[in-house]
């Protein structure tokens, strides 16, 4: 939906001739099938009462959902993941927002290095970040716990908050802050009533993303978790024991949840 394109132009597009358009459509349909059919397999099998994962399904039922709700270890791990993600989100916001403001508005030595260096934990495989922290923690004989997992996640997720908020700050028109100050609002009022509301979608969007990523994280968690398991680590240990249809039920519920989160997130971002 490009603006200023007339109906004539829309009908005849010199760039996208009919065969090109058709080829792209076929590719896109195939790509979406590739993305969604494997997910559909999990969903379909979650409603099969047979422990064998073969088609056609002969008995439909909710056996695996019943097993899932009865699994107390699993629910404990869900609670643990919520604790971790619930710690990581405020932690990355408290650290990331000032850093983004700093990048935008303060001169300090090493600023250029920070701008690139902060992305490091996102690119370097999580297992390396996890073991780096493990080496440090073991020097001080720190006991591994959900808290050490949260520290690992915070280092890994901080770049997301910083880059999102920094990008928003760069697009932000500073003259409205000046206008507010000129009109007699104090600095604090200007910050709360002008600056912060403009960052709302970036803050909510990155908080949501960090929550989802932390909730699903394995590589960083791998070396940092103690006796308490997060949900993905619990599923990982279930998988190592072999194929267990309860996992299909978990998958279906998490997919439903991620659709909800994606919907909420896009809603928030499109308001910007």
């Amino acid at each position: 939906m490009r603006n200023g394109r007339t109906a004539m132009q829309a009908r005849y597009d010199p760039l996208l001739t009919r065969p090109v358009r058709r080829g792209l459509l076929v590719t896109a349909v195939a790509a979406f099938a590739f993305l969604y059919l494997p997910i559909a397999v999990l969903v379909v099998f979650s409603f099969s009462d047979s422990p064998l994962l073969v088609f056609p399904i002969d008995s439909v039922g909710l056996a695996w959902y019943r097993a899932l709700f009865a699994d107390s270890d699993l629910w404990r791990s869900v609670g643990n993941s919520l604790i971790v993600a619930g710690t990581v989100v405020p932690l990355t916001l408290i650290l990331g927002v000032p850093l983004a403001f700093g990048l935008d508005r303060v001169n300090f030595p090493g600023k250029r290095l920070l701008e690139h260096g902060i992305l490091l934990p996102l690119v370097v495989p999580g297992i390396v970040t996890g073991l780096a922290l493990l080496l440090l923690l073991s020097r001080f004989d720190t006991r591994l716990s959900l808290f050490t997992v949260a520290i690992g996640h915070s280092v890994w997720c901080l770049p997301i908050v910083v880059t999102q908020v920094y990008a928003r700050l760069r697009r932000f028109d500073r003259s409205i802050e000046e206008a507010s100050l000129d009109l007699g609002a104090g600095p604090a009022t200007t910050f709360w009533r002008v600056t912060l509301p403009n960052l709302k979608s970036a803050l909510l969007g990155s908080a949501l993303l960090v929550f989802v990523l932390s909730f699903d994280e394995i590589p960083v968690t791998f070396f940092l978790t103690g006796s308490e398991n997060t949900l993905p680590m619990h599923i990982w240990s279930m998988l190592r024991e072999g194929v267990n249809p309860v996992i299909n039920a978990i998958a279906t519920l998490t997919i439903a949840l991620s659709i909800l989160v994606a919907f909420l997130g896009l809603r928030l971002l499109s308001r910007d």
Binding site: R105, V106, L131, L136
Partner: protein, 290 residues
Amino acid sequence: MSGATVQDAGAARGWRIPGGWLLVGPPLLYLLVFLVIPYGEILLHSVWQVDGYVISRTLTGDNYARIVENPLYRQVLWNSFSTALLVTLFALAIGYPLAFFLAFVARRHRQMLYFLVVIPLLTSFLLRAYTWKIILGRSGLVNSTLTSLGLTDGPLDLFLYNQFSVVLTLVYIFVPFVTLPIYASLEKLSRDQIEASLDLGARPFTTFRRVILPLSLPGVVAGGTFTFALSFGDFVAPSLLGGPNEIMIANVIISQFGTAFDWPFGSALAMVVVVIVLAIVGIGARLEKR
């Protein structure tokens, strides 16, 4: 925090403000303690050695020599490299046309389709890898379908536990990952630039090659480097869907910290991963500049 940020609220961007250190000091300290020092620890451990279950702190290059000399580790590095390269190429081959479709062909349903690309990204990595085990396994979907159609006599083992299943799974995981940045850069492209090229007589393919492709390169580089780096260091796909020959570098690192109990050697392997990943990021940045 609010006080310090607002002090400079009226100042022009880049001005030096008093109190700025209060703002960036604490997060920088956090990064020093939990990011810089830990990475330094890897470097330090990598030049130490295990001596009878105790880490001996005498400087040595033996760990690195072992990686270079032992064909086993060279093989593992090559596995990781070739897998990551194949994954990146295939993911780009699927992601680019998909992003192109979203940006230029999809009109009314664009928002909806964008949404459909994002959802898999928010769905568990682990579960998306696991589903291929159900699909490709001995009693999996492909085998049971082939048998029931009478095309094969019994289950085939050729789908799972090889490089094919590892690459396929990682491509599946990273397609949305490359599609989004490419889409973001294609979307920024103005229609005028394309039309100018066409009006000046360039053919559609020339327009694509000379105008659209170079301008979408930042998205390709961003998606490509992330995909390469993250699949290079992945251990989930090879341990769920790979056979003994598909062991990748991250699996070996894990075993050094577990059963092998050789933290210094594991650290040296981790350093190799960091260097390779940084080299790829550097090459990507170079490509983008040109």
